[in-house]
C-alpha cells in the first residue's frame, strides 16, 4: 500500500491532509470550544457601547492600540488582569490589534474616566505632554450611527445567540440584563438614554446641548465603549 501511495503523489497528499486534519480536530476544537465561551462578567455590548465600537473601528484605533493583555507581570502591572479567550465572545470582529503604538485598551475602563477621555480626544497634549496621538476633534460633531448598531444587534442576537434581554452573571454575583430594542425607534431611545448618562460627566457644552436635543455625537458613544472595557 505504501508503495502504491509513493507512486501516486495526489492521493498521498490527500492522505497526509486527512491525518493532520484529524489530529487538528481532536486536539484543537474541544479546547477551543471550551475556552471561547463567555467568561463570567462578560456581557453583550449595549446599544451605545456598540455604536462606540463602530467609531473605534471606523477611526482605526486598533491600528495603534491593542486589546490583548498577555500573561506577563510587566503587562498585568500596567494594564490589569491578563486577557481570557472568553472575554472576546461578543467581539465581532475582535480588536486585538497587532502593534502597540499607544497603550493597550483592554481594561481602560478601569483606570480612565469620561472627563479624561473627553480632554484626551479633544487635545491629547493637554493631559499627556509629548503624546504622539492625534486629536480627534470631529468625534465631537459627527453623529453616531445607531441604525447600523440596531442591525448588528438583531443579527448577532438571532444568528449567534448573543444573550440580549437575558440575565448574564457578573463577577460580583449580580446579574446584568443588556437591553436590545425591538424596533429601530426604540434603539434610538435606548442609545439616547445611555448617552445622557455619559454626557452628565462631560464638560463640552456643544456635546451636552446636542445630547439634550436628542442627538448622539460620536464622542459620547466612544466614551461609553471605552468605559465598558473592563
Amino acid at each position: 500500500m505504501f508503495h502504491w501511495l509513493e507512486k501516486h503523489p495526489f492521493f498521498f497528499a490527500v492522505g497526509v491532509f486527512i491525518a493532520i486534519a484529524f489530529a487538528g480536530l481532536i486536539e484543537i476544537l474541544p479546547n477551543f470550544a471550551q475556552a471561547s465561551r463567555p467568561v463570567i462578567g462578560t456581557a453583550p455590548y449595549s446599544t451605545l457601547e456598540l455604536a462606540g465600537r463602530h467609531v473605534y473601528i471606523k477611526n482605526s484605533c486598533n491600528a495603534c492600540h491593542s486589546q490583548l493583555v498577555r500573561p506577563f507581570k510587566s503587562e498585568t502591572d500596567r494594564y490589569g488582569h491578563y486577557s481570557l479567550s472568553g472575554e472576546y465572545a461578543y467581539d465581532r470582529p475582535f480588536l486585538w490589534g497587532s502593534k502597540r503604538t499607544g497603550p493597550d485598551l483592554m481594561r481602560v475602563g478601569n483606570y480612565r474616566t469620561t472627563d479624561w477621555h473627553e480632554n484626551h480626544m479633544k487635545d491629547p497634549h493637554s493631559v499627556v505632554p509629548g503624546s504622539i496621538m492625534p486629536a480627534y476633534k470631529w468625534l465631537f460633531t459627527n453623529k453616531a450611527d445607531i441604525d447600523t448598531v440596531y442591525a448588528e444587534q438583531l443579527t448577532v442576537a438571532q444568528h449567534f445567540s448573543v444573550p440580549y434581554n437575558q440575565d448574564v452573571p457578573m463577577r460580583d454575583g449580580s446579574v446584568k440584563n443588556v437591553k436590545m430594542a425591538q424596533s429601530l425607534s426604540e434603539a434610538h431611545e435606548i442609545a439616547l438614554e445611555e448617552a445622557k448618562a455619559v454626557a452628565v460627566d462631560m464638560k463640552d457644552q456643544d456635546v451636552k446641548d446636542a445630547v439634550s436635543r436628542g442627538e448622539i455625537p460620536e464622542i459620547v458613544a466612544l466614551i461609553a465603549y471605552m468605559n465598558s472595557l473592563k
Binding site: F72, K73, G80, D115, V128
Partner: protein, 315 residues
Amino acid sequence: MNKLYLWGIIVVAIMFGATAYTLVLTGGGNKSLTDILSGDIVNALAITGAAALVVITVFVVIKYVRQMQVDSATGDLADENWDGIGEYKNSLPTGWAVMFLLTMVWGMWYWTIGYPVNAYSQIGEYNEDTAVHNAKFEAKYKDITGDRLVEMGESVFLAECKVCHGINADGIDGKAANLNHRIDAASVKHVIENGSNNKLLGFEMPMPDRNGLMNANSGYAPITDAEIELVSRFVANGMTGEGAEVFAGTCVMCHGADGMGVDSMGPNISKFDTVLVTNVLTHGKKGMIGVMPKFDRLNDKQKEAVGAYITNISK
C-alpha cells in the same frame, strides 16, 4: 604511515601553535599559557573543546579521504532499483542505532519526569513569576519609611497618577484635583452644596448636602450662602482666616476642631494623610471635577507610598 596522516599532524600542530600564540598575545604579554588557562575554568573548557574539535575534524576527514582512495563497493544489492540506480542492503550503523534507542529513552523521560503532559501552562508560569516577584517586593520594601517611602511614592505617582494629576501634581489646569493643596474653595463649596459619599474613611459615611448642615451658632438654622462662602475659603486656606466660627458651629462635629478628621465620622480636610490617600486609591472618588477611578492594582505598600508622597508635596 600514509602521507595524509603526516599532513594532518602538521595542520593540527600549526593550529595549536597559532592558538597558543594568540592566547598569550591577547592575555597581556607576560602571562604564561597556564596562567591564562587556570584563571577561569570556562576558558580551559572552551580551549579543550576547540582542540578536541580540531583533532577530530582533521582525522575524520583524513579517514574518509583514505576510504575514497582505497575502498571499493561491497555488499548485496537490494532487489529494487530506480532507473538503474541501486541500493546496498547495509545494516544500520551501530552508532545510529544507539542514538535512536537513546532518543526513545529520552522521550520517555521527557513525557514522564522532565516535562509531563499538562505540567506546564503559560498561566502557571505567570503565577509563579508573580508570586516570586511579590515575595521579593515584600522582603525588600517591607520596612521602608521616610524618604525612601516618599521616593517610592513618587515613582508610583509618575507611573500611574501623572496622566490626570500632571507631573507636578497640579491637576493640569483643573483637569484633576491639585494635590499640592488639600482642597480648594470651589471644591469645598461643591461638597457643602451637594453632599458627598466617597468612602474616604474606607466605608460609606455620607455627608449631607446644604439642607442637612446646620450652624450651631445661629440656632441650628441651615447654613447660608454667605456662610458657605466664608467657610469654603477658611478650609481652602488651611484652616486660617475668616470663617472659623462657621466651621466651629457646623463642621467640627465630624471633621474635628482642627479639621484633622474624627474617627469613623469624617475625613481629614486640613491636609492630606496616608490613610485618606489610601482610601481614595482603594475606592475611587467622585467630586466636583469628575470621577477618579480606583487603583486596586497597586499593592498596600505602593498605596502607602503614594500617600506619603502626596502628604510630602502638599506640606
